[in-house]
Symmetry: C3
Subunit: 505 residues, 3 copies
Amino acid sequence: MEKEIGELHLKDSGKTCELRAKIEEIQQTSGPTLFTLFDGTGSLVVKAFAGPGVRAFPELKEGSFARMHIMLHVYEGALEGELQKASLLPPKEATALLQQIQYSLAKKASPPTTKLLIHSPLLEQLKPRMVAFATAVRQAVMEARPIIMRHNADTDGYTAALALEQAIVPLIISHHDDEKAQWHYYRRSPSKAPSYEYGDALKDLATTLQDMARFGMKEPLIILADFGGTRDDLLSLKKVRAYGAKVLIVDHHEPGDVEKYADVFVNPHAVGGDSNNCTGMLATEIAHFINPKCQLFLFAAVAAHGDKVSGPEVDQYVAKAGELGFSEEFLKNLAECIDFDAHYLRFIESRGLVNDLLLSEPERQKQLVEMLITEITERRAAVLGAAKHYVEKVPMRNFIFGIVPIANVTIKSEYPAPGKAIGLLFDHLKEKQPVILFGYGPDFITIRSSYSGFDVNVFAKELEKAFPHALVCGGGHQVAGSVHFIEAALTEILAFSRKYIERLN
Amino acid sequence: MEKEIGELHLKDSGKTCELRAKIEEIQQTSGPTLFTLFDGTGSLVVKAFAGPGVRAFPELKEGSFARMHIMLHVYEGALEGELQKASLLPPKEATALLQQIQYSLAKKASPPTTKLLIHSPLLEQLKPRMVAFATAVRQAVMEARPIIMRHNADTDGYTAALALEQAIVPLIISHHDDEKAQWHYYRRSPSKAPSYEYGDALKDLATTLQDMARFGMKEPLIILADFGGTRDDLLSLKKVRAYGAKVLIVDHHEPGDVEKYADVFVNPHAVGGDSNNCTGMLATEIAHFINPKCQLFLFAAVAAHGDKVSGPEVDQYVAKAGELGFSEEFLKNLAECIDFDAHYLRFIESRGLVNDLLLSEPERQKQLVEMLITEITERRAAVLGAAKHYVEKVPMRNFIFGIVPIANVTIKSEYPAPGKAIGLLFDHLKEKQPVILFGYGPDFITIRSSYSGFDVNVFAKELEKAFPHALVCGGGHQVAGSVHFIEAALTEILAFSRKYIERLN
Amino acid sequence: MEKEIGELHLKDSGKTCELRAKIEEIQQTSGPTLFTLFDGTGSLVVKAFAGPGVRAFPELKEGSFARMHIMLHVYEGALEGELQKASLLPPKEATALLQQIQYSLAKKASPPTTKLLIHSPLLEQLKPRMVAFATAVRQAVMEARPIIMRHNADTDGYTAALALEQAIVPLIISHHDDEKAQWHYYRRSPSKAPSYEYGDALKDLATTLQDMARFGMKEPLIILADFGGTRDDLLSLKKVRAYGAKVLIVDHHEPGDVEKYADVFVNPHAVGGDSNNCTGMLATEIAHFINPKCQLFLFAAVAAHGDKVSGPEVDQYVAKAGELGFSEEFLKNLAECIDFDAHYLRFIESRGLVNDLLLSEPERQKQLVEMLITEITERRAAVLGAAKHYVEKVPMRNFIFGIVPIANVTIKSEYPAPGKAIGLLFDHLKEKQPVILFGYGPDFITIRSSYSGFDVNVFAKELEKAFPHALVCGGGHQVAGSVHFIEAALTEILAFSRKYIERLN
């Protein structure tokens, strides 16, 4: 009796059924031949044995459409079949099945909901991209395509990646009807650098190529969360796409001109927005599209605290989190705890640790946060003390110019790192008057400003012009960012910086 | 016929038996239901199939006590059973079985011997803690709880960890009746830092959480050998315990106030002793309690040489090693070889390499030591030459004050590292007169002293007071230790140090 | 009916046969006893079950020769047997079989061809060593010995290792009749340092010892490609050989006196040649001996471009590559792309990425190269610009002396690294006049010279003599090389260098 693959259950083990399906993949083992069938409702692997290493049913090719008799059985907890009879479909019937498959795929891949969790004209504008993102993810799950998640290793990056993870992993388990499938078809790695570094892209490809050669895996879907859209990412994007990977980017940083190298590019700047809709917030909405059970207001609200963004969208997420019992202070503390653990986790993939901070029972969540927050507060105070001692404050007419050797006033590899420490010092200094703060290390200056007459990006461009030999790069927002250069240029660049700031006066 | 699990053997495969046991764990697979049974004498996994993914014997819960009929068979070399009939025990019988299990467990977990290998009033005082340590380890093995061993990457740390490993691994293999079990239930990692760094704790938790989610493993027993008892370890201890890990610490360094965060804390300082009973010696005794076959005098004697400790306990271990044919010179050379290999192994887990140095046949052991010792001697001489050239010797009335940029007179990442090199220079200088030696790097000073008027800990406290903004931390023994601080403070701290030492004069 | 193992096929599953073979290995599992048989034509694992964990056929020992009746079957896609009857061979028959096995082994291990791909008197002189290399590799494959390939992480090292890989992997697959065998019996790792560092040797041993203990693997055959023959490699060679590893070295760098620590040592210097026959070229010839299907002219030609070598051999490889459609410009670009990817792959083992650059279809190959080459060209131009700005050019009578803080004019961890950057600057400067170029970092000087009155090795020796306390080491060719020393000595060494060069004038 004819069946669809989607109708089959483990309990059909032992029965025979008739299927019409596309032959997606054929793998010849040293024993039987394996055929992966797909009919739009699901996938099934069926075996046929015509002698050890002998190709069974040679008339079936990859891409053929056929009618088949299959004896079902369970192997290692999953449903498999034995192919007993097969006949190619006549062309008309094949075309009809193809259309049916495409229609069915598109229908299944399209998000069950596309209603935003909050009211936001800006997010409505981004919605078509978010829907495309969710559709691509759902399709990858249905195609048994491995998903590689790469994310920024800060609070915003973690919440974004974990919101998507909360949506994706249950779909993978349910599609394969197998708890273990999540370890085969999904992988997440934090990245220390705020870009998809070429070395990371090569590492992903190395793993991918090995998985393809060794286990017959498909080309991956790569998700970049909270980075991926700047000139620094370009070569990596080109490289992974040359190997057949699809790339989805969700980010809120000022993008470069790389949109065309992503399959989907979700970034508020692309529709006239700014960075205040941070990645964790965007990912919370996409997660809801992928899997409507995910309504992760806490994730969005914590992300907003982590990145210190504000706006009408932030207010709504924070309010929703408040309704769930999370105070603003708790959100702030939780954001700092995630940042702290992220610092020490570095590039370790941990499927449980940060999730636990976000998803535990309230009592345990509180306990975990309390355990860390005292330590965090002490360390921040200590480093702030050091930074205050070593900052040189040059009084200007309209503002204070602060210069601090920030790399040398923090403890190597410990929390808080220079980028965080400069923020602490800035928050302290700006309370009294406008301030432009330069924290330098051997080959960088990280900058914070609350003086409206200064723009990080303008400064970065001037620097680049003045020191063409110094390999200057960087920038950021008007009020915060950093520049990098070669160590040999540090002294002259600091001297130039002082003069530059004086001229602003 | 009723049996105890401990009586069952692989050769009972094919037989049916009756058991009374506690249901420790129930796991529902997509195929059968798995029950882990425990009756105090052993564990057995039994399967029952009520349809794919259907819960068999729903009347059995985790924690139930039942009488069961089981058909035994061998699966992948281990004994398993098929559950054919089960009835819950009446309350009285259940209580009796529980008591029997608890009694049996306590009896099996308690060490077969608690007699020390040497005579030592101090170790007698530590014995209750050592017995508790051994009991906890034995219990973890019986509960199939994974054991994570973390140890200092020097000779003392290695010998301590390997002594315990020699005791633990055979118990694991015998408990599971499976050679392969040692790779699932035991893991050892050297740590470069002399503390349980937060990043290492997170890495252990990440692995643990994945093993729990993926393979149904239990919370681990974590053993910290030759570190773990100071303020620097506090946050890590709290964190792993928040995830249900048990922590056993065996150490001889001056402890901080963290004892209450360890399940067992073996440290001579806790009973009024000092650091002369080094960790390798303590672990040798504990290993003997865990597994009486382990009488590892060589380990203890080599550890003593590695840490250059002395005392009546050391003398006895060295004498016992001498009876086994190991000369003092060989012990010293062996200690240096372990230190050398430890330097290059860094954080690699190697189940065989250092073990081989300690446990090979005498002929091979000699050959391995000879191969390395010439190289080690040459490298030490070379670095000592460099250090002698660059040390500034300031003659004082009662001693010499030596200052050397030790990080810059050693070769990056090669043996000997700065901490070792300063020791070599100190041993050279102190021969002629008392000396206080400061070896500095960009953010640290490592100190050795043979002048009785100086105390590292007093100096560290003064420094902390004088430079509250420099994030000073550290200390050690009176005669040896180190201080760390931020790089920006180096110059002023060196200037302060000179004045401080002059005032001692 | 008596058979040889080499005659057996998967399709013999179900049949019984009679074999005469040596018992190579006996493994007692908790179930059956496993015997690994070898008769010179192939290996076969046969099982016998005498009760769980009971040793079957106790009269058979490792090393015995026996006549056996075996029932064949297929297990996980490979042929296995069940041992039904066995009788030890009488001594004479055993001796005859042993001789037959040895003869057969030697015959099978000896290369099917020993004809060079090009005409070269020098390579003819090296041929006996190359044949021994190929023989050892073929023998390792036949003995199911794991092969560990370590290679320099530059273009020459990669092409050399990958040429050998192209030859070895198909042999492994065919010997075991199993695609998956390549992942068990072959491993390749690039090494950042141009030597077999002791830490890498320990890592290899750690893995090896674990594989031996856990999976019953044999001692490995270690291949060192494009390094391995200097004093720096000595301790590593001794150590791995103490653990039973065989070591084959193919290299073209000036060797130290370590030849006797390698089982085979292929290096043109050993037969009076120089470095112009680079490792990729040598390995191309050896690959052809190992597996005559490998005629990898492209690999050799790209290697030559990577190492900028020249000579009659180079001309022939380049000409052959030209016949295949590869222009000199393309070879140069491809060499640079491999170098670029090698830089970012660091020590990642990637079975596919660099292979893909060398082995893709021409169209895809072109596309992959074009994608990278623009980026590479830009980065090289930028770093050359920086180096030109910061180089101090001291005009001498007969040449220019250039000094540049090369570590500080490149971007940390990005391409091009200092060693590459100094080459770019040198190529630029030498166009106008002879030049001696010193690029220094905190603990090294890297040197390039086109002035005939200067010799890197002579300079290195003078330096060593003048600064015995500076732990100077290094050297290279007359015209290119580097010296390393402790950081404390940098200033005085630079001052000495200036005077030394002035005296050359």
